[in-house]
């Protein structure tokens, strides 16, 4: 089963994302900041990561840089999922190695569409 790690400091967003992803038959895990997400990845590298940008302790951008240094860190598909919605921020995320980008708020249609884009649906 394809594993998706949801990284967001909002418990509500994590809950909504997990519900949608589990409906789409993904196995999910969650972390509330980038540092905890790195721990999760060290224990078990997921197939994809839904990644918030602005989080305490370690933000999404820094997490992505650290992730790519890990063994198997190139494996997960990265979908930024954030309230940052201006062109420069989106371009920066894509340039940093994101595979797709979701602007909050999102719903099941958007999540499914983005997962199709990266070949997971």
């Amino acid at each position: 089963m394809t594993q998706v790690l949801v990284v967001d400091d909002s418990a509500i967003i994590r809950k909504i994302a997990r519900r949608i992803l589990e409906d789409l038959r993904f196995e999910t895990a969650e972390a509330e900041d980038g540092a905890r997400a790195l721990d999760c990845c060290a224990a078990s590298m997921p197939d994809a990561i839904f990644l918030d940008w602005n989080m305490p302790v370690m933000d999404g951008y820094e997490f992505l840089r650290e992730l790519r240094k890990m063994p198997d860190g190139a494996k997960p598909k990265i979908v930024f999922c954030t309230t940052e919605n201006d062109v420069a921020q989106i371009a920066r995320a894509m340039h940093a190695g994101a595979d797709e980008y979701i602007m909050k708020p999102f719903d099941r249609h958007i999540v499914q569409s983005k997962l199709e884009e990266i070949g997971l649906v």
């Binding site: 989106i90 894509m94 999102f106 249609h109 958007i110």
Partner: protein
């Protein structure tokens, strides 16, 4: 009220080919409530009365706008676009290398996501199409839909359905809370208002026709008629795309599924027509 709704259903069938069975009359009434309110009318019966009398084309347009389904998304159903990218466009480039011209018609373009997706696909192959004239004509029966398509302004929700983020960055710019398609892409598409039940031969001949998710709302006779007329505007070696839930099977003798392009149809060749006649 029941006879009023039956009269309205007959009028919609007559004007735009929309088939509404009796079980959906209640749904029509619900759908037209905003139109009734905006026109300052007391109820749907009065709307039907006004439309039946004729002489109010603006009210008829608003009624049609309310009745047609404009739900769509960028690169909807994917497969026809993948077939175009991988097979159809390279094949047509080879076949048209003398005239260097390709014409594409998005025949039920709704709010424009389909023709703009086609324009993005052509843009992706701009090197191969250097020196070519690629025309994309887009039409819809709804005046409001064509106006929205021409404007090319989409909500954050709409640009996240079907549209890969690199294409969002390449072809759109922020416009307040929304996103607006760039002028260079908009200039690739010519928008017109057109009713498929009327004659469309004046649009000229096309190499590719996308006529998706519109015939499904019509009865079989209308579908047959439109498919027959589409076969006359489609080049002999052209391609027709229908919606994922639509088919020509049992309706049209003019087309057959394109064997190597999922979701696309081609005009029958003399050989396949002979085989069908003998079977």
């Amino acid at each position: 009220m029941r006879s009023d709704l039956a009269a309205l259903a007959a009028l919609l069938s007559d004007r735009i080919g929309l088939a509404v069975d009796e079980g959906k009359h209640q749904a029509i009434e619900m759908r037209l409530q905003p139109t009734v309110a905006a026109a300052g009318l007391p109820n749907v019966s009065e709307l039907v009365h006004r439309l039946s009398k004729g002489g109010d084309p603006a009210l008829l347009d608003r009624t049609i706008d309310a009745m047609v389904t404009c739900e769509t998304l960028f690169f909807r159903d994917r497969k026809p676009f993948e077939a175009l990218r991988a097979t159809v466009l390279p094949r047509l480039r080879e076949a048209r290398r003398a005239e260097r011209r390709i014409r594409i018609w998005s025949a039920a373009c709704a709010t424009g996501q389909e023709p703009y997706s086609l324009a993005m696909l052509i843009d992706e192959q701009q090197r191969e199409f250097a020196g070519w004239r690629v025309e994309i004509v887009a039409s819809d029966v709804s005046a409001a839909a064509v106006a929205a398509a021409r404007e090319g302004r989409y909500s954050q929700f709409e640009v996240q359905r079907g549209l890969p983020t690199p294409l969002l960055l390449r072809h759109f710019q922020r416009d307040g809370e929304a996103w607006r398609i760039n002028d260079h892409l908009r200039a690739h598409v010519e928008f017109r208002r057109a009713n498929l039940i009327d004659e469309f031969g004046r649009f000229g001949r096309f190499d590719i026709v996308f006529c998706r998710n519109v015939l499904m709302y019509m009865d079989v006779e209308r579908r047959r008629d439109i498919l027959q007329r589409l076969s006359r505007v489609l080049a002999d070696d052209g391609y027709l795309a229908l919606g994922a839930a639509e088919t020509v099977v049992g309706i049209s003798d003019e087309f057959e599924p394109a064997p190597d392009c999922a979701g696309l149809f081609r005009r029958k060749t003399p050989a396949s027509l002979r085989m069908a006649a003998n079977s």
